[in-house]
Symmetry: C2
Subunit: 298 residues, 2 copies
């Protein structure tokens, strides 16, 4: 399948729906809402929401499922965007460039950026509990909220970022590196896939298989991220290249070298695809996404 | 009724349950969890969770309702604590003292404090969607999540804090002041009361009456906060007294003088109590809480 076309179409669907769901920058809170919209619509690959849509499609490719998955996908993108805004703050990674544009705090100031993140995180749970997702059964909606809260929280993404800060500049081994990645980026990627499965009414086996797919894809994604930081240019990445070396971060290439890292990423992708063995052609986008993730140039 | 005894008992119930529900500071994320626990257990009046419990009690005072309300009350305190941690950050109000103790970022650093707030906010939604609240019907749980997300979000508490930052040091009129307070503190206070009503299965009329009570109590709470900032000592408050004057903030006393402000607070409390006219003796704690809020010394 033509993955580029698929990605473009899905990205457009996510962005159109996000634009419709997101608060309008009018009224008393216009300035604050503007700062959230800036980071939400500044660009981005929309990998997490697309993983959610593709996972739902793998289980059940009817129009109703496709429609139900969209606001959930949007909530995932809100969580991801909030995490980028907070990670970029001066007190954290202190980055000026993200998605090829100035970071939130360089434009709106630190206080507004913290609040933009807080607002987006809270808005994700607003979306998941609001009437826009009411076509889904209540128990499913609660499981979605629980899945996202766990993945994004202190034993997931937030905990992972705290480890990233704690270990910054320290020489750590593979076990710590893996634990940081699993929580910081892996948890939300796996949750994105799991949310798609839940929306589509996956069986327990299907859910488990998709979760395994998500775990491997998350690993591959992170290894490639580390490789791109060494191999790509700032212009290609839309964020400063070489920042891992600059901040003395332990990465896959720094631990294993570039060749071995690339092999590890390919193996992770193969395992991800292997987990989908029981799925039919509806899982083609997920398979193509796995290959895209390891071959991407940004 | 003896409000002090009631408050102590309810505070103890909330703190015991929070201690049981909150993540343990062990494993890879121990440091991060420690920073959340610090602010959560450093003290506090626990007004919001107690309002939730008292509102539930006003509608339905059986043991099942009391039990169901507790994790919801705990989630509200997590949200409140997160908002204090982020408000105190150097980029926001830059406060060193809160609840009589050093603020989170002065102990754990700015990055950890941002993440402690993020973690607590996310944990609140984890609690509301987790099996600990499963004794409640699914539609009720979804309404609770929606109520909290709306009140805490960009059109509520987060939006209010953004206005507070935007208007800091600027001379604003009563309308703006009221709008800041309604969103920054009023929304979560009203939501706390509403959540109690929802947990207890309140009728539409009861929910509306309790919401009105919450709106007035929120106003009274804020006016008294402003008055205490002028009248109390730092020791009494557990946070720097006179900080509103220092940061050139418009407050009730600065707009209306202390006498008129006190009268406004008393009137708000009377209206709050009037809203409870249809409730029987089970609403006594709510009535006593209203009087406590206007007479408190910290």
């Amino acid at each position: 399948m033509e993955i580029t076309t698929y990605l473009n179409e899905q990205r457009q669907r996510v962005e159109d729906r996000l634009a419709a769901l997101m608060l309008d920058p009018v009224g008393a809170f216009a300035q604050h809402i503007e700062s959230m919209r800036y980071s939400l619509f500044v660009g981005g690959k929309r990998i997490r929401p697309i993983l959610c849509l593709a996972a739902a499609e793998a289980v059940n490719n009817n129009e109703q499922t496709r429609q139900c998955a969209l606001p959930v996908a949007c909530a995932l993108e809100c969580i991801h965007t909030y995490s980028l805004i907070h990670d970029d703050l001066p007190a954290m990674d202190d980055d000026d460039l993200r998605r090829g544009k100035p970071t939130n705090h360089t434009i709106f100031g630190e206080a507004a950026a913290i609040l933009a993140g807080d607002g987006l995180l809270t808005f994700a749970f607003d979306l998941l509990s609001s009437p826009v997702s009411a076509a889904l059964a209540d128990p499913v909606r609660l499981r979605l909220i629980q899945t996202v809260a766990r993945a994004a929280g202190s034993l997931g993404m937030v905990g992972g970022q705290s480890l990233d800060m704690i270990y910054a500049g320290k020489q750590v081994g593979y076990e710590v590196l893996r634990s940081i990645h699993r929580s910081k980026t892996g948890a939300l990627i796996t949750a994105s896939v799991t949310c798609g499965a839940l929306v589509a009414g996956a069986s327990e086996e299907q859910e488990e298989a998709l979760k395994t797919y998500g775990d491997h894809i998350g690993l591959a994604f992170q290894i490639v991220d580390d490789l791109l930081d060494v191999e790509a240019t700032t212009e290609q990445l839309g964020k400063p290249a070489g920042s891992d070396i600059k901040s003395d971060k332990v990465t896959y290439p720094s631990l294993f070298g570039r060749e071995t890292s690339r092999t590890m990423a390919r193996e992770a992708v193969q395992e991800a695809i292997a987990a989908l063995a029981a799925f039919n052609h509806q899982a083609e986008p997920l398979r193509a996404l796995a290959n895209y993730i390891v071959n991407r140039k940004k």
